[in-house]
């Protein structure tokens, strides 16, 4: 970490365990705090959006206002947090001078590139070497997209959401809100009203995207919310593997992150979506941290497959349920999740698998690790609709406790409206046993290494679903996130 000034100012907050907590000094273009129709209009005009999109945002805004007045912020999850003052948040924060998206890496503020370097993002040539195309979202603006040209030759579109609105309005118009309408829930409505940027991916029919696509998100400005929107469309017979990573600096105040992700897998297509979520979890005493309220959903058409893999180690609060609507016959939905909570972190996460088509199949593997005073809830819903002949679901839901002060909860909902469905549900709760620890330590591993090995081993069924490089990163994150809980 080279940003000495900021580090010394910020590091007293957390005992230095969160190593992504640096702040970058770039001038920021801030809209005033608070949410109003004017702010929504301002965001839309800053982005030079067409009228129809502004109208959509305003409808979402009005819908959200209704929910907010009716006090309809969801409260069913097992999470506790002070009431969010939605008027005390910046809804638009862009690094100055980037109103125009940069044409090439040379146009990008070097300070920002330095930040991404610190984050370990393979942005420039390293990206090409590693075979990764990166779209990096810094606060609200998409900074640089690499390898756009190579992808372009295959007809693949991978760009920031704002660019997509300008250059591919038909696709956006067709699919925006088609899987997660703004009426879906409180946070989806909020996101639809104020989303600032995000990523857009389109894979043409029959094309297999040859590299992993990746977006890194980072919240930099104090008191700003981040509301990005991701839309991925895999046309008939297409394939894409997409990864998102997230970090945020140390902040004593909490930050709100309300994102929306929509996936559309047309007939015979496959989308693999992986997340490594490492937002700032708050200090060990429970101060600050990111409130992560995310709506992620995919639509799976005939013979298609959507697979969500997530490793969630960050955020003070995680509220997210990546789901699949299995509407096409023979479609497949998968959810693989490791959620780790330590100190005062709370996670309420899981999935929804909605079986509509015949012979639809879903697999859920959820691994919850609780340490410190952390609280981890798996909330899953499997719904078999009347037309879903021969639907199959397998759910495996495991909890691992590290220490005595943490909690693990499992809340599965199952609704079966077709008698031909076959559902299996396995659940287990275990502790890291003294026998296991002693065994590994007797071979020379330190207590911390032993815990790390037991926990990554236990999470293996999920981690092995990640692309190789990210599997290593995920394992490292589990280690760092557990610091202080063991030893």
């Amino acid at each position: 970490m080279t940003n000495q000034n900021t580090i010394s100012r910020e590091s007293d907050l957390s005992g230095g365990e969160y190593k992504w907590g640096f702040v970058t000094d770039v001038e920021t273009d801030l809209a005033p705090k608070g949410l109003s129709e004017d702010i929504v209009r301002l965001i839309s005009s800053k982005k030079g959006e067409p009228e129809w999109l502004l109208e959509w945002r305003l409808k979402a805004y009005r819908y959200w206002v209704g929910l907010n007045e009716a006090d309809a912020e969801p409260d069913w999850a097992m999470i506790e947090y002070p009431k969010i003052d939605y008027q005390d948040i910046y809804y638009y924060a862009a690094p100055k001078g980037t109103n125009e998206a940069p044409k090439s890496l040379d146009d990008v503020d070097p300070k920002m590139l330095e930040t991404f370097e610190k984050l370990g993002i393979p942005l420039q040539e390293r990206a090409a070497l590693a075979g990764v195309a990166v779209d990096a979202v810094f606060d609200s603006i998409s900074v640089a997209t690499t390898m756009e040209k190579q992808l372009g030759e295959l007809g693949i579109i991978f760009c920031s959401f704002s660019e997509a609105v300008k250059n591919h309005p038909d696709l956006i118009k067709k699919y925006l809100g088609s899987v997660v309408p703004y009426t879906d829930n409180f946070f989806a409505a909020l996101n639809a009203a104020v989303f600032s940027d995000g990523s857009f991916v389109y894979i043409p029919p029959g094309v297999r995207c040859p590299i992993e696509l990746m977006t890194y998100f980072r919240i930099n400005t104090e008191g700003s919310g981040q509301f990005e929107r991701t839309l991925i469309v895999a046309d008939k017979g297409a394939y894409v593997s997409y990864l998102e990573g997230c970090t945020a600096p140390f902040r004593k105040t909490s930050q709100l992150h309300a994102a929306t992700v929509e996936l559309i897998a047309l007939d015979d297509a496959e989308i693999k979506y992986s997340t490594i979520q490492n937002w700032f979890p708050g200090t060990p005493d429970g101060e600050g941290g990111v409130y992560n309220f995310v709506t992620k959903r995919g639509r799976a058409d005939r013979n298609s497959k959507i697979s969500w893999t997530q490793v969630e180690t960050g955020s003070a609060i995680t509220w997210k349920y990546p789901s699949v609507i299995l509407r096409g016959d023979n479609s497949v939905g998968e959810f693989f999740s490791v959620a780790l909570v330590n100190n005062h972190q709370q996670a309420d996460t899981g999935t929804k698998m909605i079986h509509i088509g015949k012979n639809t199949k879903s697999t859920i593997v959820s691994k919850g690790i609780s340490a410190g005073k952390g609280n981890n809830t798996y909330r899953g819903q499997v719904q078999i609709m009347p037309g879903a002949e021969n639907a199959v679901n397998h759910t495996q839901c495991d909890s691992l406790l590290v220490g005595d002060e943490c909690g693990a909860h499992t809340v599965p909902y199952i609704e079966v409206r077709n008698p031909t469905a076959r559902l299996e549900h396995e659940a287990s709760t275990s502790k890291v046993s003294d026998d296991q620890l002693f065994y590994l330590m007797a071979r020379g591993l330190s207590e911390e290494e032993a815990h790390h090995m037991i926990i990554t081993g236990w999470s293996r069924d999920v981690i092995k679903e990640l692309p190789f490089e990210f599997a290593l990163e995920a394992s490292q994150l589990l280690k760092v996130s557990l610091e202080g809980a063991v030893g």
Binding site: F438, Y439, G444, E447, G457
Partner: protein
């Protein structure tokens, strides 16, 4: 090499739970000591205490390795000094490959001793060679460590670790129990081939049979937390014939 003096041990947080009641044992460099004794007499407890298991407390006595007390050392530190315990009941660790585990074990030992870590390539060679030597089914080492292994497979896996880690003091806790004849010979051959002037063994066993293959220098009889007799290999033959009856009477009389 290893000196145990008047070792008393209880279970952590349990009153009046003394298991080892004054053990004296001295194992010289290059020696093989066998420990025999009835079920529940404290053999595994002794092995675990030597390796530093947390749930026992040493209430009295001393353990030194090469003249230095090891009582304050953690299990990993003892391993770095060259100690090794082949477990009577090896723990199952889901999702961890034996290969990955052993490489990590070797690496942390090398790191602690300031030695160079073995390259992945060299380690793979060594690993494959030892897998062949102890006759572990190669598909087994692709599975999770000990998970779903049969009793005998677990013991062979302990032997694999012993051979890869090459400790200077190896404690084998009933590594021969539950083994078929071939496996028994493999354990014996393993120990015999590793036998060297710089390496010592403590072999806990119920069966004289093993001692046909491994000739111990000294045999100890452990009854009710105490060593009640020490002698040569002939002691094992006597136990095989007469059992522990005579010791049980005397130990109860003195208790």
């Amino acid at each position: 090499m290893l000196e145990i003096k008047n070792l008393h041990t209880s279970v952590l947080d349990i009153d009046d739970s003394e298991i080892l009641k004054g053990i004296d044992l001295s194992v010289g460099k290059g020696e093989i000591h066998a420990i025999m004794g009835p079920n529940g007499s404290g053999k595994s407890t002794l092995a675990n205490v030597l390796m530093g298991r947390f749930d026992y407390v040493v209430t009295e006595g001393e353990i030194t390795l090469d003249g230095e007390s090891i009582l304050d050392l953690r299990p990993d530190q003892r391993a770095h000094l060259g100690m090794f315990l082949a477990f009577q009941y090896p723990a199952e660790i889901p999702g961890v490959r034996p290969w990955q585990f052993l490489k990590a074990a070797l690496d942390s030992k090398a790191e602690a001793r300031g030695e160079e870590k073995m390259t992945v390539r060299n380690f793979s060679k060594l690993f494959d060679e030892k897998v062949g030597a102890v006759g572990i089914n190669p598909t087994l080492v692709k599975r999770s460590l000990n998970e779903g292994f049969s009793g005998g497979e677990k013991k062979r896996n302990e032997m694999l670790q012993l051979e890869v880690l090459q400790p200077t003091l190896a404690i084998l806790d009933e590594t021969d129990s539950g083994l078929d004849v071939d496996a028994l010979r493999i354990v014996a051959e393993g120990v015999n081939s590793m036998r060297s002037p710089g390496r010592s063994f403590i072999v806990v066993t119920h069966y004289q049979r093993l001692l046909n293959y491994i000739t111990p220098d000294v045999v100890h009889i452990l009854v009710n937390g105490k060593i009640v007799n020490t002698g040569g290999p002939e002691l094992a033959l006597e136990v095989e014939k007469d059992g522990y009856k005579k010791y049980l009477v005397t130990s109860e009389a003195t208790a």
